[in-house]
Symmetry: C2
């Protein structure tokens, strides 16, 4: 049995020298390396952008959708849409664990898992397409896939419906990073506190900041502010437009008696909220940017331009144990679970 | 005497509600607020992009360059080039200090300072243009300017030539942030360790990591690697292309016996070095991105894609005391001073 690269570079066919995600074609033969995991795949959750492109190309015809998917996987060894560049994730059961991993991971053969790394880097072989669920971007298949040593996964729990589990796993990094950042007594501003990841950050921030802390959820929408207040995890639901930096600064100064935030967590997916986040933070404070709309230069030059000595952190969707932590939140809070069951599935 | 906003929003004329940098026009009357500093300006160091645009528009004619500069400042109240959007910095003497700042800052009337905030947000009035130095993007003037309460500045020292001082002040944030990040015994990788800010990071990293630490300077250029070795602050000068993520990872693994870096400091101004930096870092390590070519999404999705639990920090050119620290480096190390005197002025 061979030993593979933890990042899967041993399976790159072409071009050589890149990581599996950057490769055009990867090796999807199912001969296991001693540090790989073999998965019996039951379903592919195709990335929304990818599935829309495929549906359009196939003019909605199920047979043609199936043919396109088979063709991509046949050519590339992975379900990596060449038009959109995106992948998705898969659900299946552990079929075999390379001997070098035994005892090092919390998986056993037979465990039901979802992969948290993209299909755009996951070796996959499709044996049969069972059914295509056009409404939920899902394809049920018979097939096998490989998870590399660094590949992320989550064990799917028995006590939480699959859809609810997948909805929270999608943003599992947000509460995990919040848990690391927030200290008892902190004043925490969650920009976009009414959204899916924002709600998890607000919940976790209140837990960590405790009764002496103060959590301020920010949204420009009345409805989000009302929900934040009803859920009861914010000390203040602030209706404000984070793209208006001066208004943000003044509103946070009002609520904090001029002390500003120790930690700002930015979860909004709209541009131009960097400066509002910077001005809401105290000198020496931290800003965590989860928003993929964050501009690196706007953040870097913005802080320097106003002479603000703050630590600005690039949101990392992965943190050790994030999947376990996220699923546990649903067990810990029936309110949170009800919210996910009604709003995000 | 009025009290102004620490960020200078009280001087914004139009449009209302933005910060001075975003404003088309700011108020450059020299009636001081109690938390402003009045500067007798002797020279404007115009941003290179801005000066090139003005020179081109003026077809190199000094009279026309002067007229364009006067026109911009007349219209906008600041030397904020409307074509390039950029500013520059100024040199002058402190003429007056608002009473609310006395005792809170280390300045006295008569001190010679350089502003470290952009001319694109600095209220300025030009009384006379004395001379234009086309070769060094500098204009000597008689005039006055205002520094807001949060405005950054550096006292120009008597013992260091102005040009050398300005060259190091330009990148003063890099060694200051390195000083905060690096602990004794750390393995530190400086990507772009042969450049201006990279050299300062290498120097400061070696000082902080100490004899039990290991500093690896990375450059794709032979010449830079030779210089790093000669200067003697790196434990290894690694010739490698940081855009080749797999090669970077393998080279750093070789040099560290597979332990990888505790801290990676990225100082190269070329794109696509995010993944190389991520793979060079150990799990739980930190990456400091000073490079303005950093892509936020490449960093965020890159780390998640390979399941790397690292903290990625957006480079902030400002850190409290950074100017004093940077100038002190030149006094501390004659080698560093010689390097700046010969290479960067």
């Amino acid at each position: 049995m061979k030993h593979g690269s933890p990042y899967g570079t041993h399976r790159v066919v072409e071009p050589q020298g890149v990581l599996p995600q950057g490769a055009w074609k990867i090796d999807n033969t199912m001969a296991l390396c001693d540090n790989e995991i073999l998965i019996d795949v039951s379903a592919l959750n195709i990335d929304a952008a990818s599935f829309t492109q495929i549906k359009t190309e196939a003019e909605g015809d199920l047979g043609r959708i199936a043919a396109i998917v088979r063709d991509i996987v046949g050519q590339r060894g992975k379900m990596h849409n060449p038009v959109t560049g995106s992948g998705g994730m898969l659900i299946g059961r552990v079929a075999a664990i390379g001997p070098a991993l035994v005892g090092k991971i919390d998986l056993e053969v037979g465990d039901r898992i979802a992969t948290l790394v993209s299909l755009s880097l996951t070796p996959l072989r499709i044996d049969a397409i069972r059914s295509i669920h056009v409404d939920k971007d899902q394809i049920e298949i018979d097939g096998e896939a490989i998870l590399f040593e660094t590949g992320l996964y989550a064990k799917l729990p028995e006590d939480i419906p699959e859809k609810v589990a997948l909805a929270i796993l999608d943003v599992a990094g947000a509460p995990a990073q919040t848990a690391r950042l927030v200290r008892p007594g902190d004043t925490v501003v969650v920009v976009g506190g009414g959204g899916k990841s924002g709600t998890l950050c607000v919940y976790e921030a209140k837990k960590r900041a405790g009764p002496t802390g103060c959590v301020i959820g920010v949204s420009p929408f009345d409805k989000d502010c009302r929900r934040m207040s009803e859920l009861g995890w914010v000390d203040h639901a602030l209706r404000a437009d984070a793209t208006d930096a001066v208004a943000m600064m003044e509103a946070i100064a009002d609520l904090t008696g001029g002390r500003m935030a120790d930690v700002v967590i930015n979860c909004v997916n709209i541009p131009n909220t960097e400066m509002g986040s910077i001005l809401a933070t105290r000198d020496g404070g931290k800003i965590y940017f989860f928003s993929m709309a964050t501009s690196f230069t706007a953040a870097a030059l913005g802080a320097e331009g106003v002479g603000k000595d703050v630590e600005m952190i690039v949101g990392n969707g992965y943190a050790k144990g994030h999947a376990v932590l996220a699923l546990e939140l649903l067990r810990e809070s029936p309110t949170l679970r009800r919210l996910f069951e009604t709003l995000y599935v």
